[in-house]
Assembly symmetry: C2
Homo-oligomer: 137 residues x 2
């Protein structure tokens, strides 16, 4: 499974940026909210910036800002950025092609896995960062 928390932290960061939309936030400030190291935050923000949904500015008064409207950024969008690989890994080594099951299993499974992952992502697409900000107490 997703055995890393980068997706959760990415959503946390973006929610924080949207919640404080008027000012740039430093990686150190964000790290204190997430309760981790600023470098961990910068690494995740580097992925998000590559995808165009945040921007950064160096120097005093610098920091990080949302580059898209919070309404446009869905949990699905973030999911795909932080988890570009297929949700369900196939076999570590190619199955035995001389076995009828080994020969066909990967194709059969891929078909089901793609549909299931789409169902997951469709559900994630129902919520945006703006929705989360609205519910922050």
């Amino acid at each position: 499974m997703l055995s890393n928390s980068r997706y959760t932290v990415a959503i946390h960061i973006l929610t924080l940026l949207a919640y404080n939309e008027t000012e740039a936030l430093t990686s150190e400030f964000i790290a204190s909210s997430v309760n981790t190291n600023p470098v961990v935050i910068r690494r995740i923000l580097a992925s998000l910036r590559k995808a165009g949904i945040v921007s950064s500015q160096g120097g005093p008064g610098g920091g990080w800002c949302l580059a898209e409207r919070p309404e446009q950024v869905t949990l699905r969008h973030i999911y795909r950025i932080m988890n570009p690989d297929a949700l369900f890994p196939l076999h570590p080594a190619e199955p035995n092609q001389n076995c009828p099951v080994g020969r066909s299993i990967q194709e059969l499974l891929t078909k089901r896995f793609v549909v299931a992952q789409r169902a997951l992502e469709d559900s994630l697409g129902a919520a945006s960062i703006a929705d989360l900000v609205k519910e922050v107490s």
Copy 2:
């Protein structure tokens, strides 16, 4: 994400058992189809047996059999056995409770994650081992 292939291998094993329903299969035979070590297979089968969907028999002529009808064993059932933990891990450390976002983010996310994981599992529930066996060429 799911960063292990045990779910895929578990489905492979069960499909193989259903495909050869008349005879018990040894972990060595199964391993040769999956292309791995028999102990890896026995470890996965131990989980499946604990859940009651396979049975084992030692000694000559022994091996592994399905303990349920292939129609009853869905990909969702197997998913839950092989992945008992939540699909989306939360933060490694508790977020800062003095920050409005840090204070509420885990509850907000859990709500969405539960729904998304249910969508995933519902999709997986649509296919059974019997369905896969039918499609093995």
